[in-house]
Symmetry: C2
Subunit: 300 residues, 2 copies
């Protein structure tokens, strides 16, 4: 089964109003909450990533979800399942990595540890809403501008290099040690008074564009040339696919009123559905389904 | 490595004041939080447990942690990692089971779903402190009485039966579908004004007794004859071991002022350390280490 199919089963099983954004917004408690897991050989391989980097990345992935809500990251719990061959040094390095990702006073307050066949990490993070304006994927409005926080494609390019046993810190570090865009999200949530949409690009920029378009019932039009990327990525085969569809950059994508001053402007919210992509002086339309199926290279 | 050894590495790596109880108590937010994981072939086997029961138990295990703090369970996130051979029906039944464990208005508000080799479930639960008196394992005081919420040993006996391909609902149901003792915990947290100690007996009654004794710097003296158990458990080989050391009953153990009216009185808090067990008219002393090593049958 596809992840999206499973999520729709879960949504209908639970019929919860909360499920849909990166975080659930628990208004009565003044918090947002998220939980994300990393599974060995699905999300990472021990050959590529050090225990320190793994701890760092596991925490950042969850801080990124909090950042995408606009809330202030505050507390985390860490659940770790470990095979018998893992030694004490691994555990120490992993937690050092976790701790070093906590750069703004966030605290790990609990969790558990169990045995398993493979390494399995599940982290729950809580952010304080702190009277901020919390995002929703449903809030992209016609006329808003589309902005992102930074480079796309670097993480996917880094993964390609690691799979080929190559190393180039410009790409492998963004993959192994991504940075949650906490400031980008905080500034928006503190300055914008109107409803706005924001999510992280953990599953790729196109996925985030198509998801916000679908949830908000609008079309997002984007200029490929405006999407920030490392110039050296252009040496990779099908580099535009990496920029558009590559996952795990953990940047933020937001649809905000035009008078907001910040982020890198890559497009506009308009009437319609799906994503309109301007590339090589042509306009390509992607439906949500096109994006889910990762219909690469439409524009070639 | 032993789980307890790992936890001490984590504690020293994180130097967090929060780690130690079943839940972390986040005073500024008025909540407690806990996260517990269940891993296939470590905590359960697909042969023994239905998907519905697995969802039910996974939620109850986490509600039990909240109950042990005295807080009111409120919100959960569910992270599920599934092998490819799992079908849609499994997922639907699992979430039905989760939902049916939510008997007091608790809500599942998020989580994620990923691929994996085996089934991994990690659940995070939040409880509202709601001006209640939250427990701590450090709060058992000399002269307090030791009380429990219900039967011990049934779950471990049930597991034995399942492993032998036998079935007896009196034991297998407590193992497959334990009940978090929410009312027991709530009543204590609402009625008692003094500090008190409470934890669940997920790792066995003796483990809970020894842990509270260690954390509070006291000795817990317990009369074996007063420990509630299903009379039919006495037909099992070494049944006293099941009652004392068997895990997963998810009952609550509390050390409370003597004027508290409730629970089943099994012993007293006194000066000293470890656990003093009265059994067959003899007094056996267990250090914390004895209990961790599960030194069975000392009293034979």
């Amino acid at each position: 089964m596809q992840e999206k199919e499973l999520i729709s089963i879960i949504k209908s099983s639970l019929s919860s109003e909360y499920i849909g954004d990166d975080c659930a917004y628990l208004k009565e408690l003044g918090i947002v909450i998220t939980q994300d897991s990393l599974v060995e050989d699905i999300h990472f391989k021990r050959e590529y990533i050090t225990p320190f980097q793994l701890g760092y990345k596991s925490v950042m992935v969850n801080l990124s979800d909090i950042a995408s809500s606009g809330a202030k990251p505050a507390y985390l719990t860490v659940s770790l399942s470990l095979p018998k061959d893992i030694n004490k040094n691994f555990v120490e390095e992993f937690y050092k990595g976790c701790k070093s990702a906590l750069k703004n006073g966030e605290q790990i307050v609990g969790g558990d540890i169990t045995g398993s066949d493979k390494i399995y990490i599940s982290i729950c993070a809580i952010g304080k809403t702190a009277e901020r304006n919390i995002s929703s994927r449903k809030n992209a409005r016609i006329g808003y501008k589309v902005i992102v926080s930074g480079n796309h494609g670097s993480s996917a390019a880094g993964l390609k290099l690691l799979q080929q046993n190559k190393k180039n810190d410009n790409f492998t570090i963004p993959h192994l040690m991504p940075e949650a865009q906490i400031e980008f999200g905080s500034k928006i949530a503190q300055q914008i008074k109107e409803p706005y949409a924001m999510m992280d690009t953990s599953d790729g920029l196109m996925d985030a564009l198509a998801t916000i378009a679908k949830e908000s019932g609008v079309c997002l039009e984007v200029d490929f040339d405006k999407i920030p990327h490392d110039k050296n990525i252009e040496k990779f085969e099908n580099w535009q696919d990496l920029v558009l569809f590559g996952g795990e950059d953990y940047q933020l994508l937001a649809c905000v009123p035009c008078d907001y001053n910040g982020g890198i402007h890559i497009g506009t919210v308009k009437d319609g559905s799906g994503v309109d992509l301007n590339i090589n002086n042509k306009l390509f339309h992607y439906t949500y389904t096109d994006v889910v199926k990762k219909e690469f290279n439409h524009f070639k």
